[in-house]
Symmetry: C2
Subunit: 130 residues, 2 copies
């Protein structure tokens, strides 16, 4: 299949697919005239990439999972030592997200401290969510 069809089947754009290929996450054959040709497996692969991106991983993170992208990913990953490297990536990413969250939360708290009259609704929602 050509790139437009793959884009349609995976709900993304041709630009994104070329980007994934540029990042080493996707392969393609070429017609004599240079068009990218994909096997049906590419659909799974692209869905997995987008799944992981939507789960909060970065493109660089996803590169670490490249070995697992050709089969459907489970909803929840069991712990198995054969995937320890992937788990390290997950742990680091969670730590990064935690730091960013903490940093933004500090900023928001400083702001609310200096402007107390804009405090309550967000604060209540925040405490409830945690």
């Amino acid at each position: 299949m050509l790139i437009g069809e793959l884009a349609a089947q995976t709900g993304t754009t041709t630009r994104a697919l070329r980007y994934y290929e540029e990042q080493g996450l996707l392969e393609s054959d070429r017609t004599p005239s240079g068009y990218r040709v994909y096997s049906p497996h590419a659909v799974t692969r692209v869905r997995n990439v987008r799944d992981l991106l939507a789960s909060g991983f970065t493109i660089d993170n996803v590169k670490s999972f490249v070995r697992y992208l050709d089969t459907d990913l489970p909803e929840v990953f069991e712990y198995s030592p054969s995937c320890a490297d992937g788990y390290g990536v997950g742990a680091r990413r969670v730590a990064e997200l935690g730091e960013k969250i903490a940093s933004l939360t500090r900023m928001r708290d400083i702001l609310v401290h200096r402007m107390p009259w804009l405090a309550s609704p967000n604060d209540a929602a925040q405490k409830e969510a945690a």
Copy 2:
């Protein structure tokens, strides 16, 4: 005073001061040879800009406060209708920060949901912090 001394007195860099000027947050006279010359008021101004940035405002936000930057800012802003526009900026910024925090938190929760074995320490700290 010249830019280097202003940088030293405000604990920042010459690069940052030129950037603030480029953004319309700081003014300077020039010597015949083109050096920037600042009045002592500039020290207060720069400190206020950095104070607001450290409080979680963006450069664009600070531009809205440009009228108030020549006198010392209070630690906590009282509510007064004469500054309603500034308060709107504060409210919007707090909302933006809240959205970013919520978005990152959603991502982290999805990740932890898919990789449950990396859950606890961050989670506990998070709930405690809120």
